[in-house]
């Protein structure tokens, strides 16, 4: 039986997180009433002209840098001409021969090995309007028309549905990490078209390429690819030929279907956009933008292990989300005990975020304040129980650890004389427990220490209390 080699390439469209559209100042807000974020430019009215959104360019360049691309020193926009109801001008402003970014790639883990998947290019373009289909009419909402899109074209380096999904997950992680986009396929801010061909093992020329559209989730992409691989395998094994075409994934039927095209392959008649001037980003500006780049998640994990001496597990948890990593890093740098900071973040902080369903940016305790709390505990100014109490107070009422401890007199008492007084009183008041301890019951010591803590309202230094009790009762 012939084995077939699979070749997969992906074209990913990502909506960028800008406030305004690519070529006009309309809001990019999602979910508003139809046709409420529109103007002459994004409606393609006569006399309207596009003006480039600098932030969109920056986000595309940053994405390119994070994905290892070269930033094209000379870049420009072109007109791609075709007619469709979701096209306000019946040409799309996009980039043809001089995209913003070239080359690059991502690393994925496949069977314990690292595999590099190449990226061909990343370019900027504008999104189209949204069509809603009714029985005999279609309605068009132009809110989405003109939203900035970044198109990432991969090299045809993937050889399985698993690799394709791994590529997408890695891409998504990096782009979300960089704050470039939400990359949520279900919400439509990340879309993916797939190109796939099969060829018999040993053949060097690639097989006929089929394009697949209309997948709305990573799972959909996986399933569509698996189906298409099987379909093509069957056709080829049966001696048939694959037609070069575009197919759409039908999630309900679990199959791809040929899309009816009323026309020949498009002649897009690309030409340079005369209304927009060329882009020649100065190296200093690209360097300025590069300086704002976060480390890739993997690099950050490594850094946490190296610089703060954290175990791998801690580093992984902390580096998973950029904002959490930022919080940890700020606190850790201010504290003498980064591991303790890590413990706090991994447990109490993250748990609170989950319970309250808030992002770390909305967390009531700032990294500086956490660092202070950690150091006070480290310096034994307060004990760990008190620290928990102070944490809860900071969360509920705000304030700094030092002030709270001072105001409420929560400082651990480590004055031997003061503790001794309490210890003596407890010994006097609990003859039974003293007897039990002297008879070998270890639990009795715990009880007595607890009583010292209770009487001192939790402020006694528990280690000192325990040591004193031991000393007094060992006679």
């Amino acid at each position: 039986m012939t084995t077939y080699r699979i070749t997969i390439g992906l074209e990913v469209h990502v909506q960028l997180k800008t406030k305004s559209k690519m070529f006009c100042a309309c809001s990019t807000d999602f979910g508003s009433e139809p046709n409420t974020h529109i103007c002459p430019v994004c409606m393609g009215y006569p006399g309207s002209l596009p003006v480039m959104n600098r932030e969109a360019i920056r986000l595309t360049v940053i994405s390119g840098l994070m994905l290892g691309c070269r930033i094209n020193p000379h870049s420009k926009f072109d007109r791609k001409n075709y007619f469709y109801p979701d096209m306000p001008k019946n040409y799309q402003i996009t980039q043809c021969d001089k995209p913003l970014c070239l080359g690059g790639g991502v690393d994925i883990e496949v069977g314990g090995q690292t595999k590099r998947l190449g990226i061909t290019r990343i370019h900027q373009e504008e999104d189209v309007a949204k069509n809603m289909h009714y029985a005999t009419w279609s309605g068009i909402d132009f809110n989405r028309a003109g939203v900035p899109l970044m198109e990432i074209v991969s090299e045809p380096d993937m050889e399985s549905a698993d690799e394709a999904v791994a590529y997408l997950q890695t891409l998504r992680h990096i782009l979300v990490y960089a704050g470039v986009s939400e990359c949520n396929m279900e919400e439509g801010n990340m879309r993916c078209d797939v190109n796939i061909s099969l060829r018999p093992e040993g053949q060097t020329t690639l097989g006929t390429k089929v394009e697949i559209k209309n997948m709305n989730s990573f799972k959909g992409i996986y399933n569509a690819l698996q189906y298409e691989i099987e379909r093509q395998r069957e056709v080829l094994a049966g001696g048939g030929k694959i037609t070069q075409e575009t197919r759409r994934w039908d999630v309900d039927k679990g199959q791809t279907f040929s899309m009816r095209t009323k026309e020949d392959a498009h002649d897009y008649r690309y030409f340079p956009e005369p209304d927009l001037m060329p882009i020649a980003l100065p190296e200093t500006l690209v360097a300025e933008w590069a300086a704002t780049l976060p480390l890739l998640p993997a690099q950050r994990r490594e850094k946490f292990v190296r610089e703060f001496g954290l175990p791998e597990y801690d580093a992984q948890v902390l580096a998973a989300e950029k904002a959490v990593g930022d919080f940890f890093e700020t606190a850790a740098r201010l504290s003498r005990n980064p591991k303790a900071v890590s413990n706090w973040v991994m447990t109490d902080v993250l748990r609170t975020l989950t319970e309250k369903e808030i992002p770390i940016s909305a967390f009531a305790i700032k990294p500086e304040a956490l660092a202070e709390l950690v150091d006070m505990t480290d310096a034994k100014v307060i004990n760990s129980n008190t620290a928990r109490d102070v944490f809860a107070i900071m969360l509920k009422e705000g304030g700094q650890a030092k002030e709270i401890v001072a105001a409420r007199g929560l400082a651990q008492v480590s004055d031997a004389g003061a503790i001794e007084a309490v210890v003596d009183q407890i010994i006097a008041e609990n003859p039974k427990s003293v007897e039990d301890f002297k008879n070998g019951k270890v639990a009795a010591m715990k009880f007595l220490v607890g009583q010292v803590m209770r009487l001192s309202k939790g402020k006694a230094n528990p280690q000192m209390a325990g040591a004193l009790l031991e000393k007094k009762l060992s006679n």
């Binding site: 409606m43 009215y45 006399g47 002209l49 003006v51 007619f83 019946n90 009323k262 002649d267």
Partner: protein, 495 residues
Amino acid sequence: MLNTFTIHEVLDRLNRGECRSEDVVRSVLDAIQRTDGRIHGYLAINEADALEQARAADTARSNGAKGRLLGVPIAVKDVLNVKGQPCTCGSKILKGYISPYDATAIARLRDEGAVFVGRTNMDEFAMGSTTENSAYGITRNPWNLDCVPGGSSGGSAAVVAADECVAALGSDTGGSVRQPASFCGCVGLKPTYGRISRYGLTAYASSLDQIGPITKDVRDAALLLQIMAGVDAADSTTLPSTVPDYQSALTKDLKGVTVGLPKEYFVGGLDPEVERCVQEAIEVCRQLGAKVVEVSLPNTRVAVDTYYIIAPAEASANLSRFDGVRYGYRAAGAADPLDLYKKSRAEGFGPEVKRRIILGTYVLSSGYYDAFYLRAQKVRTLIRRDFEAAFKQCTVILSPVASTPAYRIGQNSADPLQMYLGDIFTVPVNLAGICGLSVPCGMASGKLPVGLQVMGPALGEEAILRTGYAFEQATQWRSYRSGIAKENAGSQVRL
């Protein structure tokens, strides 16, 4: 007879309190009433609105407002978006469309108090040289009603020449302000590309279009340019260069000015009357102190081809938005969007527009892009270099605007190529992105105006306005009025 004055003459009287803006506008509206039935320069007038604007200007003036055009009525070519007004572009496909915004140039004039009195006729989507391509009927030349006023801003030129307004706006892509100005005996200016914002100007050819004033004298053109010029955040192609004081460039002599005459433009084929008028004009410039030298623009012979590849190509994309979906004309009975486009565009566009869309689509299409569009853009560089080299030897270049005076109506309709070749003197200016002025310089056989073209380097408006002004002040051509304009002056004849 307030309608017969220039902008500065009207402003003088308004500022001295000798008349009100309402009087000026009424005078213009009366002239339109008397005349436009024969000329058909206007496509739309809103009398009530114009008078309301005029009254508002009068009130503002009495409250101390100081707008540089306060209360002055301006006619607008129907290609410019003016909020709340129609903007047909001379086409059926934009019937019913109401502009929801002001073009930047309009907004700047509005800020200075201009009164927008009406929309003028034009070749459909600015494609044409006679205004015969309008879907709303032809415009006639006030000097001879059997002749065309030129195009594509024929309506604007005709109404200025007939004193049916004080001044007008046109647009120029291949000569569409300069040529009708020449045919109608007015002043017409095409600024340097990027000098005036194109935001709100319905696009024909994006890399060639410019808005331009059509006026009764050079001083008025300088004023309108002054107000409209300057960088605009809404148009990425506008120049960031500061706008100089154009009025102060106007002098009555041409000392220190070197005038270049391109040898390729004077090789014969010119109507003898046009040749005579232009040569006499050159002589006047000499008298005024200008030095005259010969220059060469070697790529002149391919300018028309270059233009008629690039302009239709850009236009084919710019006109794709006219599809019956979001505004304008929509054909009935379409089964699906594809059908909708093909029917609406077939029914909504006239033949010249269709021709140019097809030509433009062709030169961009796969297999032809390199041979035509790309090649034309390269030749364009050569044409621009020609001018850069020539302007090293002279301050301004003089030439005819057209090789003949105004054509008879219907004369060129059969042969589009013939029509295109008539643009030989004007298209190079747009291709090179430089500035050009048309100023009246004589009468052919005493009956039809002839214009002199003054070309200047990029951002050389001061030089061409100076040359035009000095020439105008030394001659009597600006006082020549057509028969219709004389009617509109009442019994008094202006001198």
